[in-house]
């Protein structure tokens, strides 16, 4: 963002920061400016909240993935085999 004295963002300027804002990838100063706009603009605030909510729910659902027990067993076996093999040849 331009570093000259800007202390108000338009809706359009704010919107350009949507993804970086919800991913906490903005600088502290840019984050402050976006937040300042969201505090006074209901429409942008609704859009940002909706977008953040969508990715938060998606993330929560995907992170519930359960590791199949068979994978743990296979890993344990194969690692033991490699260890035994390497111990034998040394």
């Amino acid at each position: 963002m331009n570093s000259k004295m800007i202390d108000q963002l338009t809706c359009e300027e704010t919107f350009r920061h949507l993804d970086d804002f919800i991913d906490r990838e903005l600088s502290e100063e840019d984050c402050r400016l976006v937040q300042k706009h969201l505090d006074i603009c209901d429409i942008c605030s609704k859009e940002f909240n909706f977008e953040a909510d969508v990715w938060s729910v998606v993330r929560t659902k995907l992170q519930r993935t359960v590791v199949p027990p068979s994978l743990r067993e296979k890993l344990s076996l194969v690692l033991q085999e490699i260890e035994c093999f390497e111990t034998d040849i040394n």
């Binding site: 993804d19 859009e47 659902k61 992170q63 993935t65 490699i82 260890e83 111990t87």
Partner: protein
């Protein structure tokens, strides 16, 4: 160099806390559970064989996931220097927001995103992610499975942070359209409209 007795157990203990993330990422990359198991196993073998190169005190998770990503590209896709170019239609801006507004979800709920996604399970969301071009899918897999920063994802998949940013932002826009299709196919939107 040979491995001392007990190295496998030590390695397994380091792997265990990150196995959920590794399998979750592998599932989104390969798109099916059997291939995901194979990929994690291949990454485990590769990393165990190269365990002596892991620097103690550094980030084991990032190290392992880098090996997993390399195994994925080697096995399934030749890594592309240039991302697949995808034309984003103008109507993809706020796609889900606009569709859910049109469907009236914002009038009847304080949390329309939750209404939209409530009945979708991880498998359906995984299917939607599976439709993304491979480079976008890789970035999305890491983004959704962990709270990684763009820089951390860039380090794992070995590409510039600006590329990660672009792939994530564009990928999510494409993903919104796929999620809406799932919602329509599942009757989630119609069901909500009828309930009003």
């Amino acid at each position: 160099m040979g491995k001392a007795n007990g190295t496998a157990k030590l390695f397994e203990a380091k792997l265990e806390p990150i196995l959920g993330t590794a399998y979750g990422v592998a599932l989104r990359l390969t798109r099916n559970p059997s291939d995901a198991e194979d990929l994690v196993q291949e990454a485990a073998v590769n990393s165990f064989c190269g365990f002596h190169t892991f620097e103690s005190g550094t980030n084991f998770k990032a190290w392992f996931l880098r090996i997993l990503t390399n195994a994925f590209y080697k096995r399934y896709h030749k890594k592309q220097n240039e991302p697949e170019m995808v034309d984003l239609e103008d109507d993809l801006m706020l796609y889900l927001y606009n569709r859910t507004c049109e469907a009236g979800l914002h009038c009847t709920s304080d949390n329309p995103a939750e209404i939209l996604l409530r009945k979708m399970d991880a498998k359906q969301i995984t299917t939607a992610i599976a439709e993304l071009p491979v480079e976008y899918r890789v970035a999305a897999a890491f983004y959704f499975m962990e709270e990684f920063s763009y820089q951390e994802i860039a380090d794992i998949i070995d590409c510039p942070v600006g590329t990660v940013r672009s792939r994530l932002h564009r990928g999510r826009k494409l993903l919104q359209k796929s999620l809406w299709q799932v919602a329509e196919e599942q009757g989630i939107v119609a069901e909500h409209s009828e309930a009003k």
